[in-house]
Symmetry: C2
């Protein structure tokens, strides 16, 4: 798995697995339009970066495949619910996501809020199967990692800072702290949930945590760069929204060239962390770090 072609095969296989599990585990028969809205919000779209990180980290530590697939789906459900809620009129008021009308545009605000709420609950349902062979202690560990990355110390906390920061000047340190929570926490948790499915030593765990933190930040820096350099049709969402909303970004705080240099520095940090981990099968994680920085949407 050191070749580009091998990585591309791995990605294809991992995405197939993820899509098929999402399709199987997100119920279509939930009452009224709830199931339909949930499926609309999470199926058929998205880069699936978080599931890929879970599966790659699990592979790197020789982890439990069933548990890794459940963790991959759970973390994507949390990500997808956060997009559904973020897009609503009281938050970003966005009408386009993954090239399609957003959930509240299609199903109404009340259904979008409920669908997001139910997706968060479903993430924890998926992590706690009653009829499978995922060991209960691992289920509890995965629930704990996911809940902490989604809650006020993680994603929701970052969104609260984001909300409060509109029109406010932020220092680079404050911006970093906001994104560490808002985007970084769930990306880092993806890596750690994957690692938790196997037997990582304390030093490998710490190195994977550093890797996750580096790509978590890199992802957001690149997002901010793409928001000013790419058109909406490439991104599949409305471009230039941050500037328009007067939100601080890495580009407004650092400037475009310095933001690009920062993304490269974070990529190097991620690779160094992998080298420190001592894991011999971290090739997919290394290539995912490159993918995060080199992506154009």
């Amino acid at each position: 798995m050191n070749s580009r072609a091998g990585f591309e095969n791995w990605i294809r296989e991992a995405l197939l697995q993820t899509e098929s599990a999402l399709d199987a585990w997100v119920p279509g028969d939930a009452p009224a339009a709830l199931g339909e809205a949930m499926r609309y919000g999470v199926l058929d779209g998205g880069k699936r970066l978080r599931p890929l990180l879970v599966l790659a980290a699990s592979q790197a530590v020789g982890g439990h495949p069933q548990a890794a697939l459940r963790a991959a789906v759970a973390v994507e459900l949390i990500h997808a619910y956060s997009l559904v809620h973020d897009d609503m009129p009281c938050m970003d008021n966005d009408v386009l996501r993954r090239g399609k009308p957003t959930v509240h545009v299609k199903y109404g605000e009340a259904s979008a809020m409920l669908a997001g709420d139910a997706m968060q609950a479903l993430a924890f349902e998926v992590l706690t199967p009653t009829d499978s062979h995922v060991p209960p202690a691992l289920q509890a560990r995965l629930c704990g990692l996911l809940a902490r990355s989604a809650g006020c110390a993680g994603m929701a906390g970052g969104q609260a800072i984001d909300l409060a920061s509109i029109g406010q000047p932020l220092s680079e340190a404050e911006l970093r702290e906001m994104h560490r929570r808002k985007t970084g926490a769930l990306l880092q948790a993806s890596v750690l949930m994957g690692a938790a499915t196997g037997a990582a030593s304390a030093s490998a765990w710490a190195a994977l945590s550093d890797y996750g933190a580096a790509i978590g930040l890199a992802f957001q820096v690149v997002d901010d760069i793409l928001d000013v350099t790419q058109a909406s049709d490439t991104l599949g969402k409305t471009a230039g929204k941050d500037a328009e909303a007067n939100k601080p970004t890495y580009v407004t705080v650092l400037g475009l060239e310095a933001a690009r240099a920062e993304a490269q520095a974070l990529r190097r940090s991620a690779h160094e962390a992998l080298a420190r981990s001592g894991l011999s099968s971290g090739a997919c994680l290394a290539m995912l770090a490159d993918m995060v920085v080199e992506r154009d949407r």
Copy 2:
């Protein structure tokens, strides 16, 4: 614990424990106003029926006290988040809750949505302590029970039916199914989470499940009765909302007298289930069933 005075002492002690744990575990220092909005949404108000059910069921099976307290707080967090989201303009658009302005009135819609989201995540954080003696397998079991009762097969699914049913005639069976999910699932889960903290036999588990289903439905029947018979200042929330919104209720479907008879029948079912459970320390559960039916707010 068969006397009224003993029960009142037990309630007082259980409420003190619950309030103190909520105060300790709902963080005030979350970023921006997020922590403040979360605390506003869950502290200092509410009957705490769900925590009382968890603690009483745990006591009935000689359960793990630390796990029971965590389950009590977690289930109340789920209940409280659902109220915060329900009250928002895109749902019930209510401005009064527990005698105070609702969370979105005080903190804005975006913060209310985020606070609700973070409260749901916090419920699962509380259930998965990393530094305590709650056995991991029990943590996983509690997460699974809570997630399933909160998600599309439970509370969120019931809310979706509710949303779709405004202005629609519902049969008694459909109304019952909506409430079984919307309110009943979380009340039943409270009982079962309490039972899971100890060693309930399969037959005791089934009986407690029946008890939980009966009081879950009774709670809603009584809610519908109070909505037409009590004033807003007694309820601490806006009375008569359901009729005004043209929502089907037990009173509109059955009539007031038949709804009262139904509440009494469900109380008897709850008592019969407790008798079937064979548990000798279910006195608090029995008195909680009476409290659910006799309450005036």
